[in-house]
């Protein structure tokens, strides 16, 4: 599913060079549930940006579902993101102007799906995350945990094979965090490939495989049972 080979990402700021990813090679198969851990600044988010096609690497190859991604242009990447990947961020990133339902509809709009079907599918996704009674609430009228659940619904609605979550529980209390993790596990059971980024060992232990990253290099990679 995800096949990264010898990937580097170098940020240049004036004379200083930051090697956020340093010759990383990684394979994630379909239906895996992977947690990426590491200290702050180790390159976790950078890795996720690469996997999520949000940024292009300085060198190396990236095959997603057998497609060579590293050479794609902007619009092609946007397409990949829309159809293959659902994102969940620490900061939720919901559009404040839109209500829950409309926020979840957004990825479907890009796909040009008809309004009625869009609404049905978005409502369904919100039902799934337990927000069936909050369809018309604005983000500002929802709790943090509820907002994150809207974000999950949004990530799910277009039924992408891969879910990428960057510190999804970072801004939440323990109980809400546990809810979110339960949902991710359910998704995994249903067949999604999940890459979860966290620096919380407890959270990471709930995945099936844990990759440790330090100074832009993978230093540990083992299964969890």
């Amino acid at each position: 599913m995800i096949h990264i080979e010898d990937m580097c990402k170098v940020y240049r700021m004036g004379d200083i060079e930051v090697r956020a990813l340093d010759h990383v090679s990684l394979r994630v198969d379909a239906h895996e549930f992977v947690a990426v851990v590491g200290p702050s600044g180790s390159g976790k988010s950078t890795l996720m940006n690469m996997i999520g096609c949000l940024d292009t690497p300085t060198s190396g190859r990236y095959l997603l579902d057998g497609m060579e991604v590293s050479s794609m242009n902007d619009n092609q990447l946007a397409d990949i993101r829309n159809f293959k990947i659902g994102f969940i961020f620490q900061g939720f990133n919901l559009l404040q102007k839109l209500n829950a339902l409309e926020n979840v509809e957004l990825p479907l709009i890009y796909q040009g799906i008809h309004a009625r079907e869009r609404m049905e599918r978005a409502a369904e996704a919100l039902e799934l995350v337990g927000l069936g009674d909050r369809l018309f609430h604005r983000p500002s009228e929802l709790s943090g945990g509820q907002q994150q659940r809207v974000a999950i619904a949004r990530a799910l609605v277009s039924k992408p094979p891969i879910i990428l979550a960057d510190e999804p529980t970072g801004n939440l209390d323990t109980k809400s965090g546990a809810d979110i993790m339960r949902m991710l596990k359910e998704l995994h059971v249903k067949g999604n490939t999940i890459v979860l980024i966290t620096h919380d060992k407890e959270v990471a232990m709930q995945a099936k495989r844990m990759i440790r990253i330090q100074d832009g290099k993978i230093c540990d990679d083992r299964a969890v049972v």
């Binding site: 619009n75 993101r81 559009l95 209500n99």
Partner: protein
């Protein structure tokens, strides 16, 4: 506050495009302000100077005939300082091209030095006028390329005389050279003035020992009315045709109107520009303050006062104001010299002193300061609301309140999703949206004005000479004739329609209101004139009917059914009182029309006519060029041609206005878009992550801008209409009445121009969307 100042510079560097666009607006505003005002003052003072130097007459009297000896008697009238008599008449001039009709006015100069309307001799300063030479008016000499030593061949009463040009002169009486009130614009190659000796003028015209015009200088201009009354009484027996005060004098009048127009523009345009600039700045500033809220909170916690923080932001505006006004004022002053010269050359004012008017610099600076301080305070006002504790919290998300439309559920459901986004974005900040719309509406309104002018001028011409007057030629006789002359003419010329005309200037009076105007007598069954009343209904002259134009009805304050007095200048004929049968439309000139038979009976003589108008494809000019007693053959086609040339120069002004409106429209859209993008960084980043590409986002922003533009155009229409009405009232004169023909094409073309500049601004702002780094935007929110 040193550190803050460095931040200020960084702020400017960061928003270069925005900064420059507002500086340009301020600079253009002040440039127009300085340039137009200084030019106007320069020209006015040059004109005053010129009048004083050449002793321009206070009153110009046209009469039937007055003997030379009667002049000394006039000097005894209280208030009269100087009197000078002259003979003046218009005759055709023979030129190389036989088809070309050129008229020249021959004006006599007293044998001793002239005391009034002294010629400003440009060449041949020492030459004396005799019976075979003349001085030629500069504009005409230039237009026809005639110089000293060349010959003029005026045809006077059928005989061609030969006059050699001894010198070229400018005259303060003919700064703006127009043949008569009916002329729309100067056509210096078709009409000129030559100054000849009294001896020559009197001998060829039959005014031996007498004059037909008087020039008067009064002791005290404020007692002008009394002097005119006394003169009128005294001169009644000589048949006064017209008494023209300085303020009604044709050239002076046009000149003053032009200067008034320039001064009006010198105020209106800068105020509009600065208003739009203020809108943009205050929005920019409030955005910057929002971005800096944490820093502001910290500063407040450290004890800085609101005022000192606000003044920091006002410095940003001040920087714009200072740079803009420096460029504008310097540019205005530098250009004012050449610009004044250009005007002076255009108007033929030989003397011009270019002054620097420090007063305008000061008022320009005051204007800019008011603008800066106001927009700065409005923009930075939100500083007051930031509490020190806020610095710890990120910017509170705008609570997504439901908008009105959303409550109308069944309607809202039908709105497409992308439009929902657009509508919500617009509603997000209603006041700002309103301001932007207003600014854009002003830009749009500025565009409508020149388009209206072009449209109106064309319409004026087409209505006047297509619909209201259908003749191809009008012929004027050099003296009144019996109407039998039409029979003779119809032998000479093949015309489908030929109608007699009786035309004399009379003074019309209603109470104290009076106006001298050409009264035209026409057959009631005329097929060459069409009259339409104010309701645009076709009306025909009733028996003994009397029509006046809308312009006249305004000046005299009379309406249909009212009675007015016509003062008769013909010696021995009484004044008459007549009822206005209707008020009719006429855009060029302001005449009164009368049934020709009634007019002959009441005001002139039986069977008398002074001209003929006709519809004819014949070679009228060629055939009539050697005919006695014809003083002018006016061809509508000729007028049309010179009018078209005049319109060409107007297109330059139109382009100017479109560019002005364009600069405003561009600046508004560009800045609104840039600010909008900065504010919605996060939103766009989220959309990008979900797979929307740059084009989708650009399209969304475009859509918002176009909704704004569309509303602005709707709002701009009444504003434009108001400006057009202002123009109609301000620039309608006795000579031209602007028709209130508001063609849709004006508004459509103005909209096209506005949209064009909006598109350009969008393209300029597109780069910002395309280079936006959405990953960084996502990061900034988290920490």
């Amino acid at each position: 506050m040193k550190k803050l100042d460095i931040r200020l510079l960084r702020m400017i560097k960061h928003s270069k495009g925005q900064f420059i666009s507002v500086v340009v607006i301020v600079a253009v505003a002040l440039l127009i302000y300085m340039l137009f005002n200084v030019t106007s003052i320069n020209i006015r003072s040059a004109v005053d100077n010129y009048y004083a130097l050449t002793n321009l007459n206070d009153i110009h009297i046209q009469l039937v005939k007055i003997p030379k000896g009667a002049l000394s008697e006039l000097l005894t009238i209280e208030g009269v300082k100087t009197v000078q008599g002259r003979v003046s008449f218009d005759v055709p001039l023979q030129v190389e091209n036989k088809d070309e009709r050129v008229n020249i006015r021959l004006i006599s100069i007293p044998p001793d030095e002239e005391k009034i309307n002294i010629l400003y001799r440009l060449s041949g300063k020492r030459a004396k006028l005799g019976i075979d030479n003349a001085f030629l008016l500069e504009q005409f000499a230039k237009a026809r390329n005639i110089g000293p030593g060349d010959k003029l061949s005026p045809k006077i009463n059928g005989r061609v005389h030969e006059l050699s040009v001894s010198g070229i002169a400018a005259s303060s009486e003919f700064i703006y050279l127009m043949e008569n009130e009916q002329a729309i614009m100067p056509v210096p190659e078709k009409f000129g003035v030559a100054f000849v000796s009294e001896e020559f003028a009197q001998s060829v015209s039959g005014y031996g020992g007498s004059y037909n015009e008087l020039l008067v200088i009064v002791e005290d201009e404020s007692k002008m009315d009394d002097v005119i009354d006394r003169l009128e009484k005294k001169l009644d027996k000589y048949g006064v045709k017209r008494m023209i005060e300085r303020k009604d004098q044709l050239s002076h009048n046009v000149l003053i109107q032009k200067m008034d127009g320039v001064e009006k523009m010198a105020t209106i345009l800068p105020v509009m520009f600065l208003s739009v600039g203020a809108i943009i700045i205050s929005i920019m500033l409030s955005r910057i303050v929002q971005n800096d809220r944490m820093a502001i909170g910290v500063l407040k916690a450290l004890g800085y006062s609101n005022l000192s923080i606000m003044s920091h932001y006002t410095k940003y505006v001040l920087a714009i104001g200072m740079i803009g006004s420096f460029i504008g004022i310097t540019g205005g002053l530098l250009l004012a010299g050449p610009f004044s010269q250009l005007f002076a050359v255009y108007f033929n004012i030989p003397l011009i002193r270019i002054g620097i008017y420090y007063g305008f610099i000061i008022s320009a600076l005051i204007l800019t300061s008011v603008f800066c301080i106001l927009s700065g305070l409005i923009g930075a006002r939100s500083v007051l609301r930031i509490m020190p504790a806020d610095s710890m919290r990120p910017e509170a998300p705008k609570s997504g309140k439901r908008i009105l439309l959303e409550r109308i559920v069944f309607l809202w459901r039908r709105v497409a999703f992308s439009w929902k986004m657009v509508i919500r974005n617009i509603m997000r900040n209603k006041r700002r949206f309103a301001f932007l719309v207003l600014g854009l509406a002003l830009a749009y309104a500025i565009n409508t004005v020149p388009l209206f002018e072009a449209e109106a001028f064309t319409d004026i011409f087409e209505l006047q000479f297509g619909q209201y007057q259908k003749m191809d030629y009008t012929i004027e006789f050099s003296r009144p004739m019996n109407k039998q002359v039409i029979k003779d003419l119809s032998h000479l010329i093949d015309a489908s329609i030929m109608e007699p005309e009786l035309k004399f200037p009379f003074e019309l009076k209603n109470g104290w209101r009076e106006k001298t105007t050409g009264v035209i007598g026409l057959p009631r069954s005329t097929r060459l004139y069409e009259f339409r009343n104010s309701q645009d209904v076709k009306v025909t002259l009733p028996e003994k009917g009397f029509f006046i134009t809308e312009a006249l009805s305004k000046t005299l304050q009379v309406k249909k059914g009212d009675r007015i007095t016509i003062k008769n200048f013909v010696p021995g004929k009484d004044d008459i009182v007549i009822t206005v049968s209707d008020v009719i439309k006429q855009y060029l000139g302001a005449n009164a029309y009368m049934d020709i038979e009634a007019m002959q009976e009441l005001l002139a003589d039986q069977q008398m006519i002074t001209g003929v108008s006709m519809k004819s494809q014949d070679e009228v000019k060629e055939k009539l060029k050697d005919v006695y007693n014809i003083s002018a053959v006016n061809s509508v086609a000729d007028m049309k041609n010179s009018f078209m040339e005049y319109l060409d120069t107007m297109y330059v002004a139109i382009v100017f206005y479109l560019v002005f409106g364009g600069i405003l429209g561009f600046a508004i859209i560009y800045n609104a878009t840039i600010i909008g993008i900065a504010e919605r960084n996060m939103e766009f980043a989220s959309l990008r992550v979900m797979g929307f590409d740059k084009k989708d986002i650009f399209r969304m922003v475009n859509r918002e801008n176009f909704v704004m533009t569309f509303i602005a155009i709707l709002v701009g229409m009444p504003i434009g209409l108001g400006m057009i009405n202002g123009i109609i009232n301000a620039f309608s004169t006795d000579i031209i009445t602007f028709p209130k023909i508001i063609a849709p094409s004006i508004f459509i073309n103005a909209a096209a121009a506005t949209i064009f500049f909006v598109v350009i601004a969008q393209l300029a702002a597109r780069r910002k969307i395309y280079t936006m780094n959405f990953i960084d935007a996502l990061k900034s929110r988290i920490s």
